[in-house]
């Protein structure tokens, strides 16, 4: 198959037998569920664009295994050029969907595993890399979407896995069999989980020997027996159940996250990529996190949409020529392009690992993500400043259609000559969607916590800067001799 079309992707999801719960009920038809559907549309776009000449240069790559053209989301980066194209693909998709398109996490998990399985084998003589490459070939050949499942519920944050009162707070091995292992636990906040064919599990923190049973990585079909998905709800989610589309803001796309429960799930050995090698858990976490911190170029893409919406609403309101408005929009662009700079920089400065995979510059990836934890909030603040209060006090689409009050709304919410009140409403709803509705999950809170909360990057930054070199430079310039 090599590359699925959007239609083929949708059809492939229909064949899965996922156990999904939402609002306390089992979802019988996941693909057509009105709350989930926009998130499926966003993943579907990653398949569609790969077939469009004007996007395929970013959306596809050449497999280093088969030599075939594949979707870049299944690719292992073979050069810094590949890393830069990954950054650009994220920005492109963010700008076309205005939301989280979910497919990066699996790509980042596979790239991290391509490095770490190799390194484990080199040190311990295991054969994880061979297994992993076989699995990768399967993913590439079938153009699968993979959920990258790292985050455990973690229970009491002050305790390591083996000291948790409930041992299942971190996913762990509960039984070893001849043909595989049995695992129990859960993964929280799983982006795009129910739009995925596969789930790739990794440990969530560095571990010591006492936590060895928690140091486990593997991949399973998303509908493997014993896996259950419980959908997270997003602010304003039930607007997707309404007949009108204006109040949704983004009428086409969305994201989703879910809690994924593994209730004694069997994993065959050929799909196990780490088994109790606790000393490599930290490396896997750091490599995955670095790739994913680069992936947040997607936020610059969503920022493009928000800036476009803000400029438009300023024009609709008749405020676009005010100097402070112009200046605020310049500031939004400045912040947004700075986000992009970080992602491009860590890609350009990436390097080849012993496995042959290219890894981003991890210091710059952490700097990139640290900016991501802040700038989208400021961009959102400026968007709300320029949009005006109506963004949160606007009556519903049904009120605009009401024979009793609709005319008043159309009359009193009119702005400049030639501007349609309905278009103004649409734009306000889009800004609401990104800054405090369903898409704010991805644009704001995920910017904060996704790929690790801000403190995680600060720790990495402090570890990775060469402080001795900086001190030496300072001492040299002011005449301090090293031996003094």
């Amino acid at each position: 198959m090599a590359m699925m079309t959007g239609e083929q992707y949708e059809a492939s999801l229909r064949k899965l037998n996922l156990q999904v719960y939402q609002f306390g009920k089992k979802v019988e038809n996941v693909v057509d569920d009105p709350i989930i559907r926009p998130s499926m549309n966003a993943v579907k776009l990653t398949y569609e664009l790969a077939h469009q000449p004007e996007y395929e240069d970013l959306m596809t790559a050449t497999s280093h295994i088969s030599g075939k053209k594949i979707n870049r989301f299944t690719h292992i980066h073979q050069s810094t050029d590949d890393l830069v194209k990954k950054t650009k693909m994220g920005r492109l998709l963010g700008s076309l969907t205005g939301c989280c398109f979910q497919r990066c996490v699996g790509m980042d998990a596979m790239n991290a595993l391509s490095i770490v399985t190799y390194d484990i084998d080199q040190k311990l003589g295991t054969e994880y890399n061979k297994r992993f490459l076989k699995y990768l070939a399967y993913v590439q050949e079938n153009d699968l979407t993979c959920d990258g499942a790292m985050t455990d519920p973690k229970g009491d944050r002050s305790l390591p896995p083996h000291k948790q009162p409930d041992p299942d707070m971190f996913l762990h091995v509960v039984e070893e069999k001849e043909d595989g292992i049995v695992v129990r636990g859960a993964k929280a906040h799983q982006t795009g989980a129910v739009n995925s064919h596969e789930i790739i599990v990794m440990p969530t923190i560095s571990m010591r020997e006492a936590d060895a049973e928690y140091a486990v990585s593997f991949a399973l079909p998303a509908d493997a027996e014993g896996i259950t998905y419980i959908m997270g709800r997003q602010s304003c989610d039930t607007r997707k159940l309404e007949a009108g589309k204006i109040d949704r803001g983004n009428s086409l796309f969305g994201g989703h996250e879910a809690l994924v429960v593994f209730d004694d799930v069997f994993v065959p050995w050929e799909r196990v990529f780490m088994y109790k090698e606790f000393e490599f858990a930290g490396q896997l976490v750091e490599n995955f996190a670095s790739y994913h911190r680069q992936s947040y170029a997607c936020k610059a893409g969503v920022g493009d949409v928000l800036i476009g919406a803000t400029q438009t609403i300023a024009e609709y309101n008749g405020a676009a020529k005010a100097s402070h408005v112009k200046d605020k929009i310049i500031e939004m662009n400045h912040l947004n392009e700075t986000l992009f700079c970080g992602s491009v920089a860590c890609a350009c400065e990436g390097g080849k690992q012993p496995s042959g995979t290219y890894l981003v510059n991890t210091l710059l990836a952490n700097v990139c993500k640290q900016n991501v934890t802040r700038f989208p909030y400021e961009i959102a603040r400026l968007a709300q400043d320029i949009a005006g209060g109506l963004m949160v006090t606007l009556p519903s689409e049904d009120d605009f259609k009401s024979p009793e009050v609709g005319e008043w709304l159309t009359k009193y919410y009119k702005t400049c000559e030639g501007i349609s009140t309905e278009n103004r409403n649409r734009m306000l709803r889009l800004i609401e969607n990104i800054t405090l509705g369903t898409a704010a999950v991805g644009y704001l809170t995920e910017s904060m916590h996704g790929a690790g909360s801000p403190q995680a990057q600060r720790i990495m930054i402090s570890r990775q800067v060469n402080m001795a070199q900086k001190q030496k430079a300072a001492k040299q310039l002011c005449g301090i001799k090293e031996e003094e």
């Binding site: 004007e54 996007y55 395929e56 240069d57 970013l58 959306m59 194209k85």
Partner: protein, 92 residues
């Protein structure tokens, strides 16, 4: 009539509408040039349309062909002339 392969960059942050550029170009060159897929063996020339000066489209596969690069809206007239010349060249 000559066949010219068409290749786009991936379009992350284009400074102009690349697809519209190509459709306007197609109109101008319709009598002389047919734009085909870049891997069409009939095409000895490839038009590469990129969205900005980074010009990051993959051109390695075209190293044995002649590449014509358009990177801004202003390239329209020049590119139309260049491509039409290919056909005139063929006729003479």
């Amino acid at each position: 009539m000559v066949f010219v392969g068409l290749k786009y960059c991936g379009g992350c942050t284009p400074r102009y509408d690349r697809v519209e550029f190509v459709s306007r170009l197609k109109e101008k060159i319709a009598k002389h040039v047919r734009l085909v897929s870049y891997d069409d063996p009939r095409a000895e020339h490839v038009l590469v349309v990129v969205g900005c000066e980074s010009a990051c489209a993959e051109t390695e596969p075209f190293k044995d062909k002649t590449v014509h690069l358009a990177s801004q809206e202003e390239d329209l007239e020049r590119m139309a002339e260049t491509l039409i010349m290919l056909d005139n060249g063929n006729n003479t």
